[in-house]
Symmetry: C2
Subunit: 589 residues, 2 copies
């Protein structure tokens, strides 16, 4: 048993003799990424040993980290302590949705709080008196929830009844009611608190999904569900994530949990299944079916969220196995439905493309890898302070870039990679096949036997390492781009529609706050349309959940989307493999 001091967190933990450092961190609830779930292949759990002895780097670590191991970098999943240690860990910071675009819409939440009078002389029950009183003010109920009955028993004058979606769900002595929109991302959970009467945005926050300790992508989450209690662990992890964050919001806004009467949750299919306690294993094996698709409606007490026990909890419907409620959120939050013909591309580890043609919606999904989310990339970071989010080369050789919140550079996020890729091609540092030029360039050099392009030199970076793009990084980006491209092209073919007829192309995704549309088109992430036709909505999932929370109309619209969607399975296209290889060329054609 040794102690490990985590310098950048100011914490100390104990590690057992036969325990990896990753395991010790997890056990102490210090959440660091671990995409592959501890197999030593993704490199995301890297830590820096500042002082102390550890086991020698494994072969896998040398493959993944190269000469970084000589500088004390290790994979937490591979390293064991041989003495007390001082280390630094890459904790995932929560981020603020600084530029979230909240669509204007009519607030019509079907929610009200009504004072009631229980004086009545007849031989009827308190429930019937309440119903009769509500009927006098034009509210017709046939019954009230048993939770309300329980609170009516000790009813004192001056109380009010809470009506949500035409049902009496609670009693209260206040006249305030709040709702939550929650976007459960595989990596990040975003929460916004809204006034359910007027719709006002009270507060919002985001926090890392505690499920990340079980692996970073949905496939590893599904795998974890195959373990005994695996589903319960994952459900607990996300509920705790929500509750911890929620309690902070409530405290700083002086709102009590019992004032929250409605929760709308948006997430991909796997996240939504797990949140509801429904095993997602069928999503991970042939024939890859979700257990349900419809908008689900449960009570908060059945889930365990710290809100009023009888609050309505609604999940956005799933359009398909890998086209989840987050996409429904994107649809609502964007102008997708407002055009006759439009395309929506959600850039994520799992990429989704939707194409609207008249009343039909064609949809497909592709595993694109997490490159645009900065994962699996030598200098990749998620979109957080200090991430390089835009980049250009001026006068052929001067590099200019900006970082999120103008913090010192820590790495590159998705929008940064879009610009870098486009600019390197524009300046012939990279060819369309993704190979670095043979021509000399002061930023092009060899590291660990591989060509790399230096975006920023170590002397200017927070980590003290060069911020680079490697040949392998370019390959990862190419694979992702090929996925989006083939998905979009296939839908255009399936829908028998020409790109010229597309009036709007929407980009959604959690990979930066500013996107250069021309560069995105240049590298083929989105099809070549007039940049005036492109809309960037960032993470539409949370906004979509808010719209369902606050609008009867959008709630109804969301639940009807299932019927309009035709899911196209790319793998069933016989020439998929051939097309995919052709698509690796950077650019649309």
């Amino acid at each position: 048993m040794y102690s490990i001091t985590i310098k950048n967190l100011g914490k100390s933990i104990k590690v057992g003799d036969k325990e990896t450092i990753l395991s010790a961190l997890r056990r102490n609830n210090i959440i660091i990424p671990a995409v592959c779930g501890g197999l030593g292949i993704c490199g995301t759990c890297r830590i820096k040993i500042l002082e102390g002895d550890t086991t020698k780097p494994t072969e896998r670590e040398i493959v993944v980290l190269g000469n970084l191991t000589e500088k004390g970098w290790r994979l937490a999943c591979q390293a064991y302590a041989l003495s007390d240690l001082i280390i630094a860990v890459p904790v995932l910071h929560s981020k603020k949705s600084k530029v979230r675009k909240i669509k204007e819409f009519e607030i019509d939440p079907d929610f009200r709080i009504v004072p009631i009078d229980l004086d009545h002389d007849g031989h009827i029950s308190i429930e019937e008196i309440l119903i009769a009183g509500l009927s006098k003010i034009g509210l017709n109920l046939s019954e009230v929830d048993i939770c309300v009955l329980r609170s009516l028993a000790s009813f004192s004058p001056g109380k009010n009844v809470v009506l949500s979606y035409g049902k009496a769900i609670a009693t209260t002595d206040k006249m305030t009611g709040y709702g939550l929109a929650i976007d459960i991302g595989t990596t990040t959970v975003a929460i916004s608190l809204r006034d359910l009467i007027g719709g006002r945005l009270v507060d919002e926050t985001s926090i890392i999904n505690r499920q990340t300790v079980y692996g970073m992508d949905v496939i590893s989450r599904i795998s974890h569900c195959r373990n005994k209690d695996g589903l319960a662990e994952l459900k607990k992890a996300v509920v705790e994530t929500i509750n911890v964050s929620l309690n902070k919001i409530l405290k700083r806004n002086n709102v009590s949990k019992d004032e929250i009467y409605r929760v709308v949750v948006s997430g991909n299919s796997v996240m939504t299944h797990i949140f509801l306690g429904i095993d997602p294993v069928s999503l991970g094996r042939l024939p890859f079916k979700p257990v349900f698709r419809r908008m689900m409606h449960v009570k908060a007490r059945e889930i365990g969220i710290d809100v009023h026990e009888n609050a309505d909890v609604i999940t956005l419907p799933l359009l398909g196995s890998y086209i989840g409620g987050d996409l429904v959120g994107d649809i609502l939050a964007s102008d997708f439905l407002e055009y006759e013909n439009s395309i929506l591309i959600d850039v994520g580890t799992n990429g989704e493309v939707l194409l609207k043609k008249g009343e039909d919606i064609y949809a497909t999904s592709v595993p694109a890898g997490p490159a645009f989310e900065g994962m699996g990339m030598r200098s990749g970071v998620i979109a957080k302070d200090g991430a390089i989010e835009s980049f250009r080369i001026v006068d052929g050789h001067i590099v200019e870039y900006s970082t999120i919140n103008n913090e010192s550079p820590i790495g590159i996020c998705g929008t940064g990679y879009i610009d870098i890729l486009a600019e390197l091609i524009n300046h012939r540092v990279l060819d369309k096949n993704g190979r670095f030029s043979q021509a000399s360039n002061e930023r092009l050099t060899i590291k660990d036997g591989l060509k790399v392009y230096i975006v920023e030199y170590s002397k200017n970076t927070v980590t003290g390492e060069d911020i680079v793009v490697t040949q392998k990084d370019v390959r990862n980006l190419q694979l992702a781009l090929a996925s989006f491209k083939i998905a979009t092209k296939t839908l255009l073919t399936e829908a028998k529609i020409s790109l010229d007829d597309i009036e709007k192309v929407i980009i959604a995704g959690d990979f930066g706050y500013k996107i250069n549309f021309r560069n995105a088109i240049r590298i083929g992430l989105i099809p070549p349309v007039d940049s005036g036709k492109v809309q960037f909505i960032g993470n539409g999932s949370l906004t979509g959940a808010e719209m369902v929370l606050l609008s009867r109309k959008f709630k109804e619209l969301a639940s009807k989307l299932i019927k309009k969607v035709r899911v196209i399975d790319l793998r069933k296209h016989h020439d998929f493999q051939k097309k995919f290889i052709e698509s690796l060329t950077i650019g649309w054609e």
Copy 2:
């Protein structure tokens, strides 16, 4: 700290220095009656000290027990141990409903178990495939319960879906399904297990309601709910009562709890409120309103009964504050609704009388006291083995009686008191004002300064005490009879109907298995009609619950009864007091 050995149970328990013997018994889950909740006034917690020293009898004990205290009888709520003790306690035995009349009715439970095939190629969810499959066999569902979705996730071939009331509520690999009818009496809980497919009665049992440790009548239960956690304690007590009994039934019939998909519960208003976790306090204070009246429908997991977690739990509706689901059971189980004009009298601590005139049902309730249930009576017992259930005087002085199951006599139950009262009046041992005759009678004697009539001499009884009827007992019976009489007469007046127009008089109640109609009429318990018009149904509550369990028609009928009932409040009749005093004369007029 002393030890107490309870000889008739073969158990030993510990009692603290400052703890009554009642408290020690309760703590050890030895349930003995305690009508008044430990105030020393009802006499129901009497025990016999066989060996050892106790504190001296209190004044209250002397009032209640008379010279019995000299023979070692004590009230457990008043006595403290002064040494180790050996005692005997009057444990309430469970009884079998030996002659329960189960009405013939069409079995139509709206329940089925259907094999399903989840093979489907489309991009829809498992839920939608299930719904599509069911629609092919004519079953139209719009969605399935989330519990079913949870079980569908790991669905393997060869399983079946359970459909109850048109909803998919579970999956199973068996083709069997069972239902429970439960009658929650204030004193006794009766349970019957029925095959939900064919309706067959599989087994039945009854057990003492564990709530009795908190007092024997509904008023003491309501009082207990005013304590912190009181409601939760009472709810737990009844749920445990059900679960313990249920587990025995299931074991001996080799049925698993997960095969039970429906539960129908019948009980008075207070029992029903508590069972559902709804505070009954409003039933115990002005204006004496129930929180609800309708048929409630909840899920088993919300209550905690050991059946399938998603089983439907239905409670029979309440017709008024003191006209509960047990009366609905009586109505269903009897011929009450089958006649144009009829009367139903439910004889209990709380008496209820219903009068049907055409489509209207008039109803009232009266606190009648527990005399006919054998409580508060010197030799009273509930209807159990050895209880004197019929009685007659032959040739003017020879006493003949029968006991339940022909066991040696232990005391007198309700039907016994009916016969005794009638026979004593017939033979002028008692006059119509309830006074014992001055004429000499070998069985009429003085005990503790009071006249008593000896029904059986001590040498022939189990307890070694005379079985007697005291002047006080007669008064208690008179008060009860006056209550039923005034209730019935008031309803006749309210409904403006003559007794001649009444086609059927139904008697319900848990006070014996045989009833002598002529004697019941003689003493004025029921109005003077031709004895061919009288129907005795015993405890109709359980049978009514079974009918709702197994018949869609009776379920619907039960829930519609609320609308037909007009509750008459006797206390609001200005001459109630005067009428009551007049009614004390034994007999109808």
